[in-house]
């Protein structure tokens, strides 16, 4: 039991502390050995992250397959799953046949731009319509706070629209003033407050008090 606790709880904590220390030392002490350790560990970090991405792919297929099983009669869901499999296979085939170091070949780029650029741009572009509809319903001066939100938002949109900047030249300096003063005040406050929280969590992690991030299973 004690041994199990060591492997499951104490060793991960030791790894956290052990890997945080070179980072702290690297910042404050310039020494070739520390630099070398840090460079090595830096590369490790990248390799681990890249390898871990496969989990996302597995979860994706698992999730989509489960979704299809839940709705066996839903044609769009079924078609979506088959399209996912077919296109993934096509991408893999394309990257393998054009050579592992030719993933950025013209053929691959062609596929990528034809499908991905158009679809992802169209998806996010839809947000504009949703936001227009939301603006119509939400941007109303119901209270002082909602008025300030509306006024700041609209003035900044005016500053960014050349037609308004021409009709109402004052909106350019006013929009920039809102950006550089009230907005700056609030974002500075948010950054300082959030960083205090970040530091607190970092300290708790090093002390073994913040275990949520590494608690698995």
């Amino acid at each position: 039991m004690a041994s199990s606790t060591f492997w499951r709880r104490d060793l991960p904590l030791l790894i956290i502390v052990g890997s945080a220390i070179p980072t702290l030392l690297w910042r404050y002490i310039s020494h070739p050995i520390i630099d070398a350790i840090f460079a090595e560990v830096g590369n490790w970090s990248s390799i681990i992250s890249m390898l871990g991405w496969g989990i996302a792919v597995i979860y994706l297929f698992q999730g989509e397959y489960a979704n299809m099983k839940q709705k066996p009669d839903d044609v769009p869901t079924r078609a979506g799953f088959y399209a996912l499999c077919a296109f993934s296979a096509l991408l893999a085939f394309n990257s393998v046949t054009t050579g592992p170091d030719k993933m950025y070949s013209d053929a691959y780029q062609w596929w990528y731009a034809a499908f991905y650029r158009s679809e992802s741009t169209a998806f996010y572009g839809l947000m504009f319509l949703y936001l227009c509809s939301a603006s119509y319903r939400m941007l109303r001066a119901r209270s002082l706070e909602s008025f300030v939100l509306m006024a700041a938002g609209l003035l900044y949109i005016m500053r960014s629209s050349s037609m308004f900047a021409l009709w109402f030249p004052w909106c350019v300096p006013v929009g920039e003033w809102i950006m550089n003063y009230p907005n700056k005040a609030a974002t500075t406050a948010a950054i300082i407050s959030a960083t205090f929280g970040q530091v607190l969590i970092a300290v708790r992690q090093m002390l073994g008090r913040e275990r949520t991030a590494i608690e698995v299973g």
Binding site: S19, T23, W26, R27, D35, F38, A39, V41, G42, N43, W44, S45, S46, S49, M50, D101, M103, Y104, Y108, Q109, Y112, A113, Y116, R117, S120, T121, F123, Y124, F128, L129, C132, S133, S135, Y136, R137, L139, R140, A141, R142, M150, L154, I157, R159, S160, S161, S162, M163, F164, A165, L166, P169, V172, E176, M179, N180, N183, K184, T187, T188, I191
Partner: protein, 279 residues
């Protein structure tokens, strides 16, 4: 028995499909038939351009290029105008690809700029591109301390030591300016430990609201910023390198006009219902 609704209520509850249709048409129309609305250049865009113009010959510039394909319509005008301005000068340009899409997009971007043909620049001498590497915090810090530990070769697989541009460039200590998409992050990684000056470029939504706390055109850490296609168009105007930013200007103007009309209608409805009554 249908309930009688007041005019104010109806004004405030227009079917969303009508809004979609009208706004979509107002966006699309100028692409079909350009209107040619005039443009003005904001102060931050002028300062950003001024810093590029003031760069001395031999200045070392590192560009963090996310190249996220989805966001290209919002950010491409900034990339292209900035690079063209940089290529006009005698500065050393290194491009770091920071997103998985980047390696695909970067080639397309440089094919549009044609540095060799249009600016007489030579790859490896005047500019170079790093390959994509996933950069968690530790890798990022390792890169700043010793570029070659993370990137032994360039985008095309050439060892960095074989590129004349990389002579004397070992770490971020040797870089003068960094174009980054996040002032906060750039400040932590580059300005605090190495004193590198930041110029920020990015999407409007990802950059603009968060950059002011770090922005000071005289003392930095962020000396200038340009975010989003609207300001990208302003940069095109300021630099004289016209592109999609200026082209999008008409569409953006007309659609915004539609948006404002609907917001106005919403408020008229709200106040009408509140003060003039309605069932």
């Amino acid at each position: 028995m249908g309930e009688q609704r007041s005019i104010w209520y109806k004004l405030g509850n227009i079917d969303y499909r009508i809004i979609y249709l009208l706004v979509a048409l107002m966006t699309a129309w100028p692409l079909w038939s350009p209107v040619g609305t005039p443009m003005t250049v904001g102060e931050n865009v002028k300062q950003y351009a001024e810093h590029i113009r003031d760069m001395e010959p031999g200045t070392v510039v590192l560009c963090g290029f996310s190249g996220y394909m989805t966001m290209l319509p919002d950010i491409e005008p900034i990339y292209l105008a900035t690079w063209k301005m940089l290529f006009e000068k005698d500065v050393k340009i290194m491009v770091r690809v920071t997103d998985v899409d980047g390696p695909v997009v970067i080639r397309q971007e440089f094919e549009k700029i044609k540095p060799e043909e249009n600016f007489g620049k030579v790859y490896g001498v005047d500019y170079m591109i790093f390959p994509y590497v996933l950069m968690p915090t530790a890798t990022e810090i390792a890169f700043t301390d010793n570029i070659r530990t993370v990137y032994p070769v360039d985008y095309y697989g050439t060892p960095l030591d074989d590129l004349p541009i990389m002579e004397g460039i070992e770490s971020m200590h040797d870089v003068d300016w960094y174009f980054t998409s996040g002032a906060d992050w750039g400040n932590q990684r580059y300005t605090i430990p190495y004193g590198v000056k930041l110029l920020c470029w990015g999407t409007g939504t990802g950059l603009l609201p968060f950059v002011p706390p770090f922005y000071d055109p005289v003392s930095g850490p962020c000396y200038g910023y340009v975010g989003g296609a609207s300001q990208g168009g302003e940069l095109e105007l300021e630099s004289g390198f016209f592109g999609a930013g200026v082209k999008y200007n008409d569409c953006k103007n007309l659609a915004i006009l539609g948006l404002f009309a609907f917001v106005l209608l919403g408020n008229v409805s709200y106040f009408g219902e509140k003060y003039l009554g309605g069932s």
